[in-house]
Amino acid sequence: MVVPLHHIIAISGLLFTIGVVGVLFRRSAIIVFMSVEIMLNAVNLAFVAFSRYHGSVDGQVFVFFIMTLAAAEVAVGLAIIIALYRNLRTADLSEIHELKH
């Protein structure tokens, strides 16, 4: 059975939306971070689908780069969250707002 392209894109869109909602509504910095990763994975899914549709591997190569980026971002993100946690003893985004106005 071949899954039609637009089904996969719809799933990808849905996944992306879940990620966006997660970013907007979760208060833990870590979970927000995971939500961003969900967004990126949604993009990966779209790339793979399009890549197969077009019969070119460019899209899949892009997926590798996105995965690498995701890893790098997680590494840096975790480091920053840890540093912040050491100083503030919290990773709750609603409590991190010293810089404003």
Binding site: A46, Y53, F62, E73, G77, E98
Partner: protein, 477 residues
């Protein structure tokens, strides 16, 4: 990959090797750290020299990057900015006992990222350059581990940056889905020949692409991170963050529009029209009430992004040239502004408010003179470079019939003068709290000279930059 490919990215390679070397030197702990900056500056200088000594032209790495006058213009600008920010950093890092090899290495990595953004001729490389730049900056912003504000700024930059990257990537995915390629020329060909899945898909993808760029250059409403990040970051990094990504973002944006999406203007110019208008207005109006110099300059940066967005939207060769000229003037003057702010800044991030500038003209007349010059240039007073930049952009926009947007921009630039003059009035018209002169470390002096050269020198004798920007913009169209 062949020799020509390597030659075409020689400056980037040199910088990368220098950066890796600095990382190793740091962990080996061998030479004193005080020498690191010279290694870094040597790398930048070598890259700058190679930019001229080994010029290449054309597409390389199987069309992934293209090198021409446009990329050379920006590489020179990026390298100058990097060198300036390195120089500004040294006294600050030493004062706060944070001089470490990673700092210089990350600055160089970020510079490489910017250079690839300008050279990219394929969305893959654009994306990689953007992320190399962004990730390095996330770390740099949060570099002062023990400062809560630095951490917070880093976290905000990172989370929001990653968030906007999500949209950016989804945009690339849609463009790829519609046209079957991520290569700039391929995209244009697909759009031009109609061999795309659907125009709607392509344009939607481009709309999402705008978000990525808009975030990097801080257009309203994607700008919210900017003031917080600029304020929280260590001041020399603020200098870098407020110039590098903005210039690189506009460079890549302009190149993508001019080469890949030239045929789709009618679908999206209105977006940029509105974004430019609200960006200028929000940036300027918010800046009016800022007492913290870093925040004020942050909002001023937002406002300038608005003017620059006009040039992007107009999309003519004239406006591209205006954009390049404006970017060069903006980047160098802003760098200098933050450089001076970092000098006035006291211990524990104090001394950033307007009051700290009282009577600076009496304490350090030359420093005050340069700062006043920067403010006048940012405000667009003739005969500074800032005035010319605005003039070029406005007249390019009028030529294409965007009269109302220009009127909005003019009114905005008039509002902006108010907050740019506030520090000038404080420096010249108010009594200093103490009479001691501000120490100006030798590292900053070249930056200040460069600022004077650009703000006033290019205002009076703009020909060299005008010619180069026209040639650079010409290689895009």
């Amino acid at each position: 990959m062949n020799a020509a490919d390597i030659l075409s990215t020689l400056p980037e390679l040199v910088l990368t090797v220098t950066a890796l070397g600095l990382l190793l030197l740091e962990v080996m702990g061998k030479p004193p750290r005080a020498r690191f900056v010279w290694v870094a500056l040597g790398g930048v200088g070598l890259a700058l020299g190679l930019e001229f000594a080994v010029p290449s032209e054309g597409q390389f790495y199987a069309g992934m990057i293209s090198v021409d006058l446009f990329t050379r213009f920006f590489n020179v600008l990026f390298l100058t900015t990097a060198a300036g920010s390195l120089l500004i950093s040294v006294p600050y890092l030493r004062r706060t006992l944070e001089e470490r090899g990673e700092y210089y290495a990350l600055t160089l990595f970020a510079t490489v990222g910017m250079m690839f953004m300008a050279k990219a001729h394929d969305l893959t490389i654009t994306f990689l350059g953007l992320e190399l730049l962004s990730v390095s900056l996330y770390i740099l912003v949060a570099f002062y581990r023990n400062r809560v504000r630095s951490n917070e700024a880093g976290l905000k930059y990172l989370l929001l940056g990653a968030f906007s990257t999500g949209f950016f990537l989804f945009g690339i995915a849609l463009i790829y889905g519609s046209t079957g390629t991520t290569h700039y020329d391929g995209i244009r060909l697909a759009i031009g020949s109609g061999e795309q899945l659907s125009m709607a898909l392509t344009v939607t993808g481009f709309g999402l692409l705008i978000i990525g760029f808009a975030f990097k250059v801080a257009l309203v409403p994607f700008h919210m991170y900017a003031p917080d990040v600029y304020e929280g970051a260590p001041t020399p990094i603020t200098a870098f963050v407020s110039t590098g990504p903005k210039v690189a973002g506009f460079a890549a944006f302009l190149k993508v529009i001019a080469t890949a999406f030239a045929f789709t203007t009618q679908h999206w110019w209105g977006i940029l029209w509105i974004l430019a208008a609200i960006t200028m207005t929000v940036g300027n109006i918010t800046a009016l009430r800022q007492d913290n110099l870093k925040r004020m300059l942050a909002f001023s940066g937002v406002a300038h992004a608005g003017y620059l967005a006009i040039a992007i939207m107009v999309g003519s060769a004239d406006s591209a040239f205006a954009l390049l000229f404006y970017l060069a003037a903006y980047a160098i003057t802003t760098l200098g502004a933050f450089g001076i702010v970092s000098l006035i800044e006291g211990e524990d991030e104090s001394g950033l408010d307007m009051d700290s500038y009282r009577g600076l003209a009496r304490r350090s007349p030359y420093l005050a003179g340069v700062f006043a010059l920067i403010m006048l240039s940012l405000a667009g007073f003739p005969p500074t470079a800032g005035f010319l930049g605005k003039f070029f952009i406005f007249s390019a926009a009028i030529d294409e019939g965007y009269t109302w947007l220009v009127i909005i921009a003019v009114v905005n630039s008039l509002i902006s003068v108010y907050y740019y003059l506030r520090p000038v009035v404080a420096m010249y018209m108010q009594e200093p709290a103490d009479e001691s002169a501000v120490a100006v470390p030798a590292f900053i002096v070249p930056v200040l000279l460069l600022v004077v050269l650009v703000a006033l020198g290019l205002g009076l004798f703009p020909m060299s930059l005008v010619k180069n920007s026209i040639a650079a913009a010409g290689s895009l169209f």
